[in-house]
């Protein structure tokens, strides 16, 4: 019964970067940090891809939105 299960592929379990290193503070005034959580187009990367935990993803999303408001980060990058 269990044998006909398709082989499951596992990647390395991702760990939330902010839980792993509590010295890193999420701050909208630090666009260099926030840049690694948006695509080159400026869109936020979902937590399922970056591995950020829900609490930190919420803080991150808020920080990115604030950062955009004061033109430290782009809303969209058009080539």
């Amino acid at each position: 019964m269990m044998n006909d299960k398709k082989p499951r592929r596992f990647g390395r379990r991702k760990v939330c970067m902010f839980c792993a290193d509590s010295t890193v503070k999420i701050d909208y005034k630090n666009p260099q940090l926030l840049r690694s959580f948006v695509t080159e187009r400026g869109k936020m990367i979902p937590s399922r891809i970056t591995g950020t935990c829900a609490q930190h993803q919420r803080a991150l999303a808020l920080a990115i939105r604030r950062s955009r408001m004061v033109a430290l980060m782009p809303f969209a990058v058009n080539e």
Binding site: R12, S36, E40, R48, R68, V70, P74
Partner: protein, 171 residues
């Protein structure tokens, strides 16, 4: 003392705010001095206190704001109440040099005695001098952070595949 005070806040506590204002790139030091004076006047009237004022220099904006590609960033940190914020933002709208402002509540129920620092004359003068800021870190991120994110993306897809096959099994 006819100030609007929040009923939610503890008695005799203050709120700590930070405000970023972006000034048009052609703003002069004298203009900044005038803005400083008007803000300080207002804070005195509304019983707030300016803790720090920083000038982040003339930076490139991530997008154009009122047709400006660059702007001078001022970072204010102060104690006060909602009424002060409302008045400050009104003032910022009236000053034409200010092209963007944003006020953020940092902390509520702050004991004013716990934040003894007050803005110094030196800081005010420093904030009035405009320096060009060149973002050095800008091209660096594309090399360092990009490959990692792409790799992560693949892993994310794998996880989805696994989930999908799970569903099939159930049926």
């Amino acid at each position: 003392m006819a100030l609007t005070r929040s009923y939610r806040d503890q008695l005799n506590s203050e709120r700590e705010y930070e405000m970023i204002t972006i000034l048009a790139p052609e703003t002069t030091s004298d203009d900044i001095k005038v803005i400083q004076r008007r803000v300080l006047e207002l804070m005195e009237r509304k019983e707030g206190r300016l803790l720090t004022l920083e000038n982040w220099g003339r930076r490139r904006l991530a997008y154009t704001v009122r047709k400006h590609r660059k702007g001078i960033y001022l970072y204010w940190r102060f104690l006060g109440h909602s009424e002060l914020v409302a008045e400050l933002e009104r003032l910022m709208r009236m000053i034409e040099k200010v092209i963007r402002y944003m006020t953020i509540l940092v902390d509520a129920n702050v004991d004013p005695a716990a934040r003894p620092e007050a803005v110094t004359e030196e800081q005010l003068n420093e904030a009035a001098t405009i320096v060009a800021y060149d973002s050095v870190a800008e091209p660096e991120y594309e090399e360092s952070a990009r490959p990692e994110a792409e790799e992560a993306e693949e892993m994310g897809e794998e996880a989805e595949d696994a989930e999908a096959s799970d569903d099939e099994d159930k049926e």
